[in-house]
């Protein structure tokens, strides 16, 4: 957003690396650019650019711009809309419209989650070694008993949650 505003300033000056024009007619014709590379850049934080959207007007549009110099109450609704479209590329509603990009993004995210899950599953089946004996339920129960017997962390940790008189976990 900020880079586009800066880029529009660059373009307004004629871009980087342009040399001074020596033409006697001025620089406007030689700066003619093909759409969409015009000098018009609007975004939500910079909604009213200096340059109008349409700079090359046909005869009818030129006549309309002349009529605009008079009283605006004499412009019809269609003429006002036409003048708006000459000055601006999109309305605010069009500029701020939502898109469906998020669905594509979330789809790719979930796809890669699944792919990673497949990789991890393959790893577990074909690459991981045997689990040590200390991870069996029986060993873990004996380990817990030993930890409670030695009263490890009796202040706020594991042994503090064990009721030694009733031989059960504290409620």
């Amino acid at each position: 957003m900020l880079s586009r505003a800066a880029w529009s300033l660059v373009l307004r000056r004629g871009g980087l690396g342009t040399r001074g024009k020596h033409s006697l007619e001025g620089t406007a014709p030689s700066e003619r650019k093909m759409p969409p590379y015009t000098n018009y850049y609007a975004q939500r934080s910079y909604p009213m650019p200096d340059e109008p959207f349409c700079t090359e007007l046909n005869a009818e549009q030129r006549a309309l711009k002349e009529k605009e110099k008079g009283s605006w109450t004499q412009l019809s609704h269609a003429e006002k809309v036409a003048l708006y479209r000459l000055q601006f590329h999109e309305t605010f509603a069009e500029m701020n419209r939502r898109s469906n990009e998020w669905k594509t993004v979330m789809g790719c995210v979930f796809f890669f989650f699944g792919f990673t899950a497949l990789l991890i599953w393959w790893q577990r089946v074909y690459m991981f070694p045997e689990k040590p004996i200390t991870l069996t339920d029986e060993w873990r129960a004996q380990q817990l008993q030993r930890t409670l017997d030695m009263k490890a962390n009796p202040v706020q940790g594991l042994a503090s949650h064990w009721d030694y008189e009733k031989q059960q976990w504290k409620k």
């Binding site: 910079y46 040590p132 004996i133 200390t134 008993q145 930890t147 962390n153 940790g157």
Partner: protein, 227 residues
């Protein structure tokens, strides 16, 4: 020793570790407050449709958010320095023990009166008796008396190691050619586990430290059996 689903530090077994736990609570509270403030500010920034493009300066808020962090840092530094100096207080140790790190075991030397030295190797998983802790048990534990200040001199015979017992708040590097001193004062008896904390080769993860803290009269009895 650590237990499953543990979220914080192990319970303190020495006064210094209690102080460290209080300090950690204090500092973590400050960290949580700052983090939640930043998170709230970011969420405000991300959920607004308003734009503002022409702020030039903001002297008042800039002053506040320079002075306030300085004050917060001082509030963290003062307790920190207090504990740092507390660790270095003179405490008249009753016992001096030398701990030498090797690749990949520890040697404990009780040489105040007689020359008593023994090695402490990790018990391998195949040799464990049921219920013992994998990668934490050793064949000969370091046996010490409770409630007495003990001077521990830590050094190494080969590469860098680090002698660590988290529940006592101890971590001292074992540097070859250098004697590092730390003070140990356990408030309650029990078994306290730690692991080597400086990378020292292939079996760096397999040279644990186990302290067995027992009342003084049992310690004296044990000494007599060792000599």
């Amino acid at each position: 020793m650590a237990y499953p689903t543990q979220m914080g530090f192990q319970d303190a077994a020495s006064p210094i570790m209690e102080e460290l736990l209080y300090f950690h609570d204090h500092t973590l509270m400050i960290v949580f407050m700052i983090s939640s403030l930043v998170l709230y500010t970011i969420s405000l920034m991300l959920t607004t449709s308003l734009t503002h493009t022409n702020t030039m300066n903001a002297q008042e808020v800039e002053t506040v958010w320079t002075i306030l962090p300085a004050i917060i840092l001082i509030l963290i530094a003062l307790p920190s320095l207090r504990i740092l100096y507390m660790m270095d207080e003179i405490n008249n140790p009753s016992l001096t023990i030398k701990t030498m790190g090797h690749q990949w075991y520890w040697t404990y030397e009780y040489t105040d009166y007689e020359n008593m030295t023994f090695d402490s190797y990790m018990t391998s998983t195949n040799d464990l008796t049921p219920g013992e802790l994998r990668l934490l048990e050793v064949d000969n534990r370091m046996i010490l008396p409770t409630e007495l200040p003990i001077r521990v001199l830590v050094s190494s015979e080969d590469v860098l190691h680090s002698w660590t017992v988290p529940s006592l708040g101890l971590k001292t590097d074992a540097i070859p050619g250098r004697l590092n001193q730390t003070t140990l004062m356990a408030s309650r008896p029990g078994l306290y586990y730690g692991q080597c904390s400086e990378i020292c080769g292939a079996n760096h993860s397999f040279m644990p430290i186990v302290l067995e803290l027992i009342p003084l009269k049992y310690f004296e009895k044990w000494l007599l059996t060792m000599l």
